[in-house]
Amino acid sequence: MLDVQNISFATPGGKTLLHPTSFKAELGELIAIIGPNGAGKSTLLKSLSNQLHDASGDVFWNEANLKNLSPQEQALKRAVVAQQVYMTMEFPVREVVLMGRYPHFQKQPSKHDFEAVDWAIRHTEVEHLTDRSYNSLSGGEQQRVQIARAFAQLHEIDSPGLLLLDEPLNNLDIKHQHRFLDRVSEFTNQGNTTLLVIHDINLAALYVDKVAILKDGELIAFDSPDKALTEKNLLTAYDFPVRVEHHPYHDAPAVYFGCPATAHEKINNSTSKQYQL
């Protein structure tokens, strides 16, 4: 279980990017972090990946405080995929995926490491790219290779894994967005936990177990999609007219931005009037 206790972060200049935030995520839960630009989504993800040295608060993963673990110990439990990774030297794709296995071996990768790499490459459908140089790939292809690297890292580890993804769908086409979310839910259902920052709320609503909504560095909702994705919460977060209905084909909420709110969810007449389009 992921137990986040009072995590907060302020820049050296004194600007608070993340107010003290606490929440718990169970094993097997896939969680979307949504919110407008500058809401603190990436900051939250970074503080969970121990990237912010001066973040206060504690993050426990299965009772272990991440602060007390060495980078290698953390890497054996948690994989992170950043928004865009540009490499400074030319490396073939296979070597980049193998880097996910770096915490698992000392000098030479074992047979098991190579198997994990092959599995991750098949799993993310990047077989046709393995011998190409990473820097020669398109943005979407690079993203898929980084995802393959993260899957290789957490492949068959002996304790539950934590996967943190910062806008992983950015450059992916529609098919690969869905393929990728399928793979991530599959991974999560095997007793792992995944947090992903995402902008496409409707897409998130189809796959995730919980939604965390951030606004100005504060967690304003943390619940299942149908409970968190209300017109009130979304209007508060995005400051833009929104209508939430039930998805016609899936059992999930469907969010329509730029539409007037539904009659039964008039939040407050004065605000909603302001947004009459």
Binding site: P71, A82, M89, R149
Partner: protein, 347 residues
């Protein structure tokens, strides 16, 4: 690159270096044939009892010089490779970013000041004190460059190169002032620093540089995985279990050690740390598990032949080694800059 292919390439390079040591020791004003060399070596080992006339030339002048150039080349090339890894930039090179010049100018101040104030000390402890002085100079410069150019996304290229220009200019100016103040004897020794020469090679200097280069290799090879990971970015490296902070500290200390040792004995020899890793990267692989040992061998190979060229091309005079390495290295540097510009356009 598979580990099989890696071993084959490294073995080939090692054989090439060994062969070059023999051939290069034979070349010069006095030609020594390979059979003579073998005869001398066997005699030294007490196996044979040959009486080669060239024993002194080979044993006292040639062999230490060739060995020194091999180890200096190896040390400079692995320093370049490791620095490029942590700076996340293929343009990082001890001579370009000013570390060599930091070491040399500290050493030149040291030569002039110490030999003027305490001449007895200078004659007794000169060499070891000089090495310490150049180490301190190199370490301070490395730290300065790293602090100035460090950003969240790795070292900033423009800042790093500009800082290098400034430090090289400052180093040049300090050495200039020292040249002005120096007497004739000191002057000769100062010229040696700024242009670089392997002419002062002795068994002692070859031994010290060999020891330091070996230590660097022993401590750098185990972190080749970490250097690979750094290509992904600092936080990405951290996420795949690399202790980035300790990696950086280790590289800075070791490369400073290697560079200052070579500067202390041979002056500034530029471009080796830039050209060798670059050529190996484009011809074979950026994988540091291959690149680190291969640069050591490639650097040795390049400097052995550069030095042989410098002492044979205009016999009996010697062309400063720095001239030869700059002639080969500068085009590589320009090519790299153009490459980076192209990449930046599409990034």
């Amino acid at each position: 690159m598979t580990s099989g292919k890696r071993s084959i390439l490294l073995t080939l390079l090692a054989l090439l270096v060994t062969a070059s040591i023999f051939v290069a020791s034979g070349l010069g004003a006095v030609k020594i044939t390979i059979t003579e060399i073998l005869d001398i070596l066997l005699t030294k080992l007490g196996i044979s009892n040959g009486q080669s006339q060239h024993e002194a030339v080979f044993w006292i002048i040639r062999l230490p010089r060739v060995l020194l150039s091999a180890f200096v080349g190896a040390g400079l090339a692995i320093s370049g490779t490791a620095m490029q890894g942590i700076f996340r930039n293929p343009l990082a090179d001890p001579s370009i970013i000013g570390i060599s010049s930091g070491a040399a100018s500290t050493a030149s101040v040291f030569i002039v000041v110490l030999s003027a104030i305490m001449p007895q000390w200078y004659t007794m402890w000169g060499v070891s004190l000089l090495s310490i002085a150049s180490f301190i100079g190199a370490a301070l410069t490395a730290w300065l460059i790293f602090t100035i150019s460090h950003t969240k996304r790795g070292a900033d290229l423009a800042t790093m190169l500009l800082a290098g220009i400034a430090i090289n200019a400052l180093g040049g100016a300090i050495t200039g002032v020292m040249t002005f103040l120096a007497d004739d004897v000191q002057l000769r020794s100062l010229t040696f620093w700024t242009l670089g020469s392997l002419g002062g090679a002795t068994w002692q200097s070859a031994g010290i540089v060999a020891a330091i280069t070996t230590v660097c290799l022993i401590f750098l090879i185990p972190i080749s995985k970490g250097l690979n990971a750094m290509a992904l970015g600092e936080s990405e490296a951290l996420h795949i279990g690399i202790n980035v902070q300790s990696l950086k500290v280790r590289v800075i200390i070791l490369t400073t050690l290697a560079v200052s040792a070579t500067v202390a004995f041979c002056g500034i020899i530029g471009f080796i740390g830039l050209a060798v890793p670059h050529i190996l990267r484009i011809s074979f692989s950026s994988d540091n598990r291959f690149l680190l040992p291969a640069s050591a061998l490639g650097g040795a190979l390049l400097l052995i032949w550069a030095d042989t060229l410098s002492r044979t091309i205009a016999q009996p005079a010697e062309i400063p080694i720095g001239v030869i390495t700059a002639l080969t290295g500068a085009p590589v540097f320009l090519y790299l800059l153009i490459q980076q510009k192209r990449k930046a356009k599409y990034a």
